[in-house]
């Protein structure tokens, strides 16, 4: 675990380390980098306007860190796209991007299509439902990529371990992370336990990495990214930044159960190629939950199949657009 401790010491950051945005932009320009911010949305009218206003004002107009702010929308039925457009974001309907490959429902689909649609050398993904949004949610993730060439993928976390009167406060992710992901990583890939919140929806990644990894379109996209990048580039490709507090919608336990199921399937599907022996054809794709009706209990079945989009680099359209 010496490697892990060294990684935590060197590759874990706090957003306050990157307060000097002027310097960051000088460094970005010196390297000739372009940076895109991607906000995947589905009915986020309540929060999207505030996110765009803050990012555009602070990280485009005041400090030109971002070269584009794009909303990739899954077909919102509220005013998400209208509000985003009114406040100056580039708005795309997911279905309109690479239409010849069809339309699949899921956040991973939007993230995958962003790799084709956006132009940045770095793409920063930020969820659109953050109530306490602040520019640090973008620059805190982008900065480690600008300042550290070996780092390819920077993940957000929101609960910094702090010394307090009783010793050290345990720090962790959400319920699915602590109950599912961390035990799995501890069993099979102990080095990855250094990621404090592997499922957080905010991360910044270099295009060279994004174009080479597949994208599950559903719950498993973050887990698959971590496993694929770990396999190909190793632990040193990861960075993580403490962004302090994040206020967002809380999910019900039943929804988290479905999420855990999808993630588990993604994990197992990849494990075989990483030395863990699992026969996916023998595993069920049905997730069973229960709901109560008066005195009776009803079993509800959900089929959760983790469909995957292939690495973008395998698409001729992408290779043509980016000259790969």
């Amino acid at each position: 675990m010496k490697n892990l401790n060294k990684w935590i010491a060197n590759n874990t950051f706090h957003h306050s380390q990157f307060w000097d945005l002027k310097h960051m932009i000088e460094e970005k320009e010196r390297q000739g980098l372009t940076i895109s911010l991607c906000l995947p949305t589905l009915n986020e009218a309540k929060t999207i306007g505030k996110e765009i206003i803050l990012f555009k004002s602070e990280l485009m107009d005041r400090y030109p860190l971002l070269d584009e702010i794009a909303v990739i929308d899954s077909g919102s039925t509220d005013q998400t796209r209208e509000i985003a457009e009114a406040y100056g974001a580039d708005v795309y309907l997911s279905a309109d991007i690479l239409p010849m490959y069809g339309e699949k429902k899921g956040k991973g689909e939007n993230l995958w299509k962003a790799v084709y649609q956006l132009k940045g050398d770095i793409i920063c993904y930020v969820d659109a439902d953050i109530a306490n949004i602040h520019p640090r949610f973008a620059y805190g993730l982008i900065a480690p990529l600008i300042y550290n060439e070996p780092i390819q993928y920077v993940k957000a976390f929101y609960d910094r371990p702090l010394a307090f009167s009783q010793g050290v406060r345990p720090s962790g992710g959400g319920r699915v992370t602590e109950i599912l992901i961390r035990p799995l990583f501890s069993l099979f890939f102990p080095e990855l336990t250094g990621l404090i919140q592997p499922l957080s929806g905010e991360y910044a990644v270099r295009r060279e990495v994004l174009e080479k990894i597949p994208f599950p379109i559903g719950y498993g996209v973050e887990t698959s990214h971590i496993l694929d990048i770990y396999k190909e580039w190793g632990l040193s490709a990861f960075g993580q930044t403490d962004l302090d507090q994040r206020v967002h919608r809380n999910q019900e336990t039943l929804s988290l159960g479905k999420m855990a199921f999808g993630i588990l399937r993604t994990f197992l599907a990849r494990s075989a190629s990483m030395g863990v022996d699992v026969d996916m054809s023998k595993l069920s794709s049905i997730m069973r939950q229960f709901q109560a009706h008066a005195e009776s209990y009803e079993q509800v079945e959900y089929e959760i199949v983790e469909e995957e989009r292939p690495p973008m680099i395998t698409l001729p359209e992408y290779r043509e657009k980016f000259g790969r």
């Binding site: 009218a45 309540k46 206003i53 803050l54 555009k56 004002s57 005041r62 209208e82 509000i83 100056g88």
Partner: protein, 393 residues
């Protein structure tokens, strides 16, 4: 647009272009409003909000920014003439405790959050103004003193602005108080005011049989009955606002403490003085009748002051507002304006936009009308700077 204006008519003719530039800075203004609005800033605890304001001033290139002993945040945008400075003031405190959720929400046409109208928007306008003036290409003759003032509301009693005016060394020629709402507001006079609270305590062993059913609430009721009996003249205009009553904790617990907060407002200092005397008499009377401990505590007091309606500043401001389609709503102020005018500084208070649910958690401000409000502010500023708002010697 880099120019000097020969008269107010020229400024008015240029108002549509000024408004357009305000619209082009929409994201900057709204981002400032979100970030300022999400920093809790109750009276006496404004430091974080003032620090952020000063950081914004520095980012805009203001080299002279500072806080004073009272916590006021001040930034100076120098003009060509060092002997002339215009004070632009917005109070930095709000009525909301830091324990309340200060999240601001942005909708297509409005923004919501506690204190967003009173007075996060006023501060956000100050934070945006240096960028706006730069974009307008305005080179002012006067310096601009941009001030986020502390300890304004309630028990703060304008301590921030008073401290600044008592200790300021810059020669000030005039001032504008910026309030988030309501657009169309024009204050050029301040009412006389006395703000206080009456607290009462009854002992646990109080003889309940003698006075009937309840404790502190009944005592406060006696006080309120006395206040309702005070004769208020129509001229000079006078009113008493009973702002809040606190007492009791449920259905069956006899309250032993109670508090009544009130404010007396009048165009006449003598009337305020007379009512203050009558309030003292009422308190003494209730003490003698009930034997309870009743205290009158005056937390703020100020004398009426104002500019005459024919003052060039008032006249030009009305003209600018009318040209923007705003019907000036003349309302006497009881806030910072009185401190400015009492110090001999010609000043007005202006509102920036329309808003609703003032001092509630759902407080909101309209976005589109903000740009008209800011254009109005810039025009009045340019009129002051051109010397078109000064009385002839």
């Amino acid at each position: 647009m880099n120019r000097t204006y020969k008269n107010v008519d020229e400024i008015i003719r240029n108002l549509p272009a000024i408004r357009e530039v305000c619209v082009s800075l929409r994201e900057t203004l709204l981002a400032n409003l979100v970030m300022l609005g999400e920093i809790p800033s109750p009276t006496f605890s404004e430091k974080a909000r003032v620090d952020f304001l000063l950081q914004r001033f520095s980012e805009c290139g203001l080299s002279n920014t500072s806080t004073d002993e009272c916590g006021n945040g001040v930034g100076l945008l120098p003009g060509k003439n060092r002997k002339r400075n215009i004070l632009l003031y917005a109070h930095a405190d709000t009525v909301f405790s830091e324990r309340r959720d200060h999240t601001v929400s942005v909708h297509a046409d409005k923004m919501c959050g506690p204190g967003i109208a009173d007075n996060s928007l006023g501060l956000a306008v100050l934070a945006t103004l240096p960028t706006l003036l730069e974009k307008l290409g305005v080179e002012m003759d006067s310096g601009l003193v941009l001030m986020g003032g502390t300890r304004s509301l309630g028990r703060g009693d304008l301590a921030g602005i008073r401290f600044f005016l008592d200790n300021n060394k810059l020669p000030l020629t005039s001032g504008i108080c910026v309030e988030g709402v309501q657009l169309g507001r024009l204050s050029y006079a301040s009412a006389g005011m006395l703000r206080g609270e009456i607290t009462c305590r009854v002992p646990e062993e109080y003889d309940w049989i003698r006075r009937g059913t309840t404790g502190a609430i009944l005592i406060l009721n006696e006080v309120i009955n006395g206040i309702l009996g005070i004769a208020l003249p129509r001229k000079p205009q006078t009113s008493i606002v009973l702002g809040s009553v606190e007492a009791g904790a449920g259905f069956n617990i006899i309250p032993t403490e109670g508090r009544l907060c009130f404010e007396v407002r009048s165009e006449s200092a003598e009337t305020v003085q007379r009512i203050a005397g009558e309030l003292e008499d009422i308190v003494e009377d209730v003490i003698s009748q009930t034997g309870a401990e009743v205290l009158l505590d005056v937390v703020a007091r100020r004398d009426p002051a104002g500019l005459p309606i024919g003052h060039p500043l008032v006249k030009q401001t009305r003209e600018i507002m009318s040209s923007l389609g705003l019907r000036p709503h003349i309302t006497p102020s009881i806030s910072e304006l009185s401190a400015l005018i009492s110090n001999g500084l010609p000043a007005v208070t202006l509102g920036i936009t329309h808003g609703d649910w003032l001092h509630e958690m759902r407080e909101s401000v309209q976005i589109e009308s903000m740009f008209t409000g800011i254009a109005q502010l810039v025009a009045v500023l340019l009129a002051m700077d051109g010397g078109f708002c000064e009385e002839s010697e």
